[in-house]
Subunit: 256 residues, 8 copies
């Protein structure tokens, strides 16, 4: 504890065990140590919140991913690598033998924690089969952060009737992640049917003028339904992470 | 009739009333006259189809609009001017005293045809009050072309329940025009609920990242519902015109 | 029939054969059943309209496509898979032995219906040889939906004379699909020459600043010819489907 | 209650007070009534959640805004009109005499509820004075929904030291709304300093290449900090609404 | 003459009237003087080619335009100011009493040259009345440069028949300027009908997704007709200038 | 000759050898025959102007290219295929044994014409080695159209001194093609140094924010030098073709 | 001095004049005080470097600007307000009577410092008269920061000869700011002629496809000349500020 | 030396060894020779400033790179090739046996200069591991130009505490290069913490809506911190070069 360390230091000065100059020397760097304390807290945060360390693998060499994974696995019981290739995974498993692979989500992951009850309350919805990679990235993120999401798949707005049986599930959710490509209308429809906060994930699925997800992104940003916010294209991880933060806070209070 | 005129000319040659050279002279320009014949047919088409002459007023001076309106009103019992200003209308009415003004649609128009039964079968749907200008431009176009559209307004996807009572109306339509800004999701929802051809009109309604209608435009182009095609942003006229073309053909066959 | 079922249920209640509570239990889920009824109708619609089930293959694994194709082929005599790869087709044919492949359109398809007369009235026009894939996707869609399109190819606007002999064909059409890349001007030219509804398909064909079809898309959206609506870039399927919906309605009425 | 009404109807049938046909007649429209029931619930939701009716004033005439405001004020004790002009407000106050005006937020609003304790937990942060309109729109939305946001202003990243004294406030927040134009970096910095969910609002503030807020929007979507989601440019209302939804759920559980 | 001056300098050195050092001093700055010689030639070029000085008035104050016009009118018998406002013109005419104003082209201009035969050979074509400002800017530029353009107006591709009577005129042209907004297809159609070089001017005329002329610009850049090059949106001056350069060269050779 | 045929037809009618009805029948289709006559002239134009048939190979299959090349080579002594792959070339040479390949320009070509003097007057300039493919495509086009371009390479504006020795060459040119990527400034610099018409070809050469040639394209469209027009990104063929059209007209007149 | 304060605090603890708890209390807030110390230094920096406080006036109300100006003028002898309106200036001068106005630069400013020698070494170059506002904003910024820039105006690349006499001035510069709109080529040309660091300011001057400065921005980012970096469109202030930072460091070292 | 050559020439004339005419002949081309002298100076500049010749390898063939490298290595002791492939390097090393390869920076380079002290003062900072390629390209450029940059890596703004220990290093820098992808916020944060000129390099690192570096580019251009200028996406070379120019000038003055 910083405050403890500060009190000890001051006591040492008060007791004459530490000279003013020596104390000054140590305090001179304190602001940064203190900030490192913030950093340390920050560093501890993942463990507290059940949030694993995350490696963004795109643009890293196979070797870089392997080294980072090994280093993280030495200090953390959980880790997640997004946008990974199978080659990156293979190299990393060479160093972390119990590393796992999720092909559809393109993630490498590790979970050495004892199995425990996960928090419910997050619902993941996606419009079509082609949106599954982002949905699965969200789901894996949530599970590593201690949540058990409920998945509803293939309920695109061109066949609304498929969505209706799910309305009760949606209305009971603490937070909903909607994953959709093409015109991304599902976010507005779900946002209009429920009272829950909605995190929308545009995907890069679609014909020409979807422009790699821009059409869905813009649609979601312009949703006429209130209560919708948007993350980056295909960013299932980001949506999952944010959903976990929100759900944790709701659940934590519920427990008290 | 061109063919009649050609027959007459040939008869004159056959009867010696017209020399070969004189006939040649007149025929030399015939291809263009013939094309003008196509043009004439084209020119007659509006009358046949009930389609009025249209003035695109934007970028024209007040004087230009007035002169064009006067000239058209001399040959046609109907006319339509889109994207007009009140000043353009005022100047034009100075020359065409029975010209009408539709403020919300920003159109000047004229209809001297005797009142007659209009064709039903076109349904116009819009998402919000702010989308009314484009919807009214469609409606006015349809009426001038001899159709009586059914209007459904303020049924945005953020409150789907407002749309459901309209499903039977939508399912009976020959063709549907969907007008929506923001995320434009209404086109997909309507497209998924019915079997009718859907013409989508994106509007420039929305917060910042609607980019003047681009968000809705892209959403509609990427609709996951089949049977949807799109016209230009705020182009209520274009959608109305196309809907009239389609509805006419369906109705015409129905009558036979 | 829902209404029949409702009447029976009410009779049972009236006759004491069903308790109020039991009736309530069954009615409680009725809205969704009713909506599922809509869904069922929706589900039956393809059979009624001759429209096959469609798999959008892009972004799906080879295995997913094969499984979906197998499932659909068990319930439907026709199916269509767009944006397919040969590998997806090969896997799917492993499960559906009579599945067909259309290389240029990149479609897998199945048609077990007895050969029957197809509806005429749809004309497909494309500007150049490079636009053929989208045109063929339209044609295949139309054929699976019971239409026999007439194809006019290689009539780009840089050589208008090639288009003129086709004017009579265009003018007799119920609906026209225009497929063009580069500057997409063919849609305006065709739209100006005929009275038929025009569905324009921009293609991703072109030099640098065609931006993957955006130039043609914008040109078509801004067509100075009335009666033109646009589908997504390279979306031959969408245009074919919409053309079929329109043509069916015209033809159906004609028959009556 | 729907179920109650259904039970009564069934009892009436069981008791012979209602014929099967009459019951059938009423049930025939039941699905929509039932959906209207969902709608009714939906309609009741604002009152339950303290959420006022919202008028998006942009693109509406002065008269339309006034009429809608009057109609809403007749049924609701609270209302909010965003993107309003002073002229729209003046016209609306002509019909709703206790209507209020918030110039900086460009909102008209009404709150006839007895003053009550508001929920704390939402922190609003903005980068500069020019971002205040969006922040105030968020604040007003939150207040009308029963929350008392804490505001931190003028803490742009070009002078991080101004932000540091606020870190404890940020770390205690249930949810944070970050409003920033120009490069929008504040969202990432705040997201990196806290564990709270962050809703980012890009604003249209900035020199040329901010492109009306696109620079900030893209920056926020690409935030390297996890736990950040984004709403539309200048959409303070949307962020405030979403923050209220999240905060309500956390607070509600806390109370239990 | 530079060469004369050089010869004189060298003679002076040869004759001992100028020391090597003094000559060196003068020669040290010669390259720039020589370049100024190029500049002087360049400066003389307008007079030789009949090309007037041009003031781009946009973004200049009324006073700046007036001063520049006055200065130019003192040295040049012709001048042209594009993108001018009436206020700029009024101020400039206060100093140059014979200055002229072309309202549709938004140009101020001066031509004190004795009337002389202008070169024929340039044809200007525009699609609609709204495109006239750019066409007139081209025409005025050409006239000031000594050419007499032939104008063909209102021949948009939605009514090709209007264009056909003009084909002989187009085919006799030395160079053609095509001015069109909306989808800009006229450039391709004209390019396909003739063998002449075509300079295309996209205009900012059009509904929403014309994006201020981008649609026409892209269409023209992607023209499937060979022999088409493009200038900036609404840049009638640029097209007129280039057409004049080309036409001059053709005519000059013709005369020899 | 059409006129001859018309005269004969009329004579036949006048002489009673052809009935009015039969003449009418033949004249009814005349417009298209006449237009086909235009077409025929158009078809003959390449031979007259020395312009070869062109195959745009991108998006065509190897087989399609080979078939088209074979067909063209049967009727034409010259042909050009742009954007070709080596595989397309190989297949085409299988059918046209004297077909040639230009690797840097990615063109296949054929020239069976007897060697003849080519017209001089076109200067091709490029900024860097990476711009050579587009420059060579221009050069090849020009040579096949009977021109012998002068090439100046590697004179980018970051070392203007390299350009200066070429000024006399530039100033003697009839027409100049400037090929440049990155910021495309060379077009403005050359345009400012000469009086010749300049055709600018933006190339897709450059770091990230060149956006595949958009930066150069915009720069060239916005050139502050008059007398510059632009073709599509990397469209060396288009620039070469246009340069040839202009140069032919200048040269033709010169000869007279 | 912070360190002094820390030493005093520690001495007080050592001497028993301050209890450990009281010291702890004060140190608990120290990190932020220390950061505020950084902030204080930061706050002092303007005075040290001669850099005035800057108000970005756009998006601020007249009243806000006046209040901020008054507050700053109470603590600072210099201030600068960019993107100001005359109304903002008038209101601010109501509170700060010696406030100055620079109309072309759209800046309000104050300089109460005694006149002193300014540092030379910064050269400002602009392409045309329309670029003067941004250039003057740079110049004013530099002057308020203690530099005396040399201005070279109206040397656009379409007349390179105007630039050549300035080469010696450019080559002696410590740092050069190049301001240009349209195609922005001046930055590359200047960058190629000198060895000095070049800061490029794109301006929003230009015809249609300059897109409000995007063309110049992209051109400058893609400059083939090394040693060029770019600031935001029209951001004369930013370029001036950066130039002052660089020039100060060069001059400071020179003095030692 | 040009001046020497000029003096010699003049002496020859003065001494009668060279006739005026012969001198005139040689001087006639002098402007270009003189410009070549400028060019020569320009050519010598790299040696003077320690700046190596640079080959932009992208878009060049393996053979072209090898030939250019060989030619440069014959005249220069240093060279740099950016955006190189390993194949290009291999071919070039076949001709220049001591050529080096930097895989992460994708550069080939040569440095035959004797090891000498490099100038300090440039600090390179990057946000994440994936930004290393651009940072290393900057570093290599700086080293070849005689500077020894200090590198700070992996200090993204989502964990500001990692950046704080580096503040003293940043504050002592003469010039700072900030390399960041995603939202690019690091440039603003660093710019706000220091007084040094900041050169920002956006990288193409990021999820979907980073659009290949556009998000970071726009963020950096819109930095609310003063003193930041931007180079092209991933253009580590450009930033390194500019930093070297600035650092040289500061250091050079320091030495005097």
């Amino acid at each position: 504890m910083n405050e403890t360390r500060l009190a000890a230091l001051l006591s040492d000065v008060a007791g004459g065990e530490l000279s003013v100059d020596a104390a000054l020397d140590r305090l001179r760097t304190l602001p940064f140590e203190t900030l490192e304390g913030v950093a340390t807290l920050d560093h501890h945060r993942p463990l507290r919140t059940g949030f694993p360390e995350v490696i963004y693998c795109e643009g890293k060499t196979v070797e870089q991913v392997a080294v980072i994974a090994e280093r993280l696995a030495a200090h953390s019981s959980r880790l997640l690598g997004t946008r990974a290739t199978e080659a990156q995974f293979a190299a990393a498993r060479g160093r972390v033998s119990d590393l796992q692979w999720h092909g559809q989500a393109r993630c490498l992951w590790l979970d050495r924690e004892p199995e425990a009850a996960r928090q419910e309350g997050v619902v993941l919805v996606c419009a079509g089969t082609s949106d599954l990679p982002a949905l699965e990235e969200s789901a894996l993120t949530l599970r590593l952060m201690g949540h058990e999401p409920c998945k509803i798949t293939d309920v695109g707005v061109s066949g609304l009737h498929r969505l209706f049986p799910c309305i009760p599930t949606l209305q009971k959710a603490n937070v909903i992640v909607v994953v959709a490509g093409m015109e991304g209308a599902l976010a507005s429809v779900v946002g209009g049917l429920t009272n829950a906060p909605v995190i929308a994930v545009p995907t890069s699925v679609g014909y020409g003028a979807s422009f790699g997800g821009v059409a869905a992104l813009l649609a979601m940003l312009n949703s006429c339904a209130s209560g919708v916010a948007v993350v980056n294209i295909d960013n299932g991880f980001g949506a999952g992470h944010l959903a976990a933060l929100i759900n944790s806070r709701i659940a934590k209070n519920r427990e008290n």
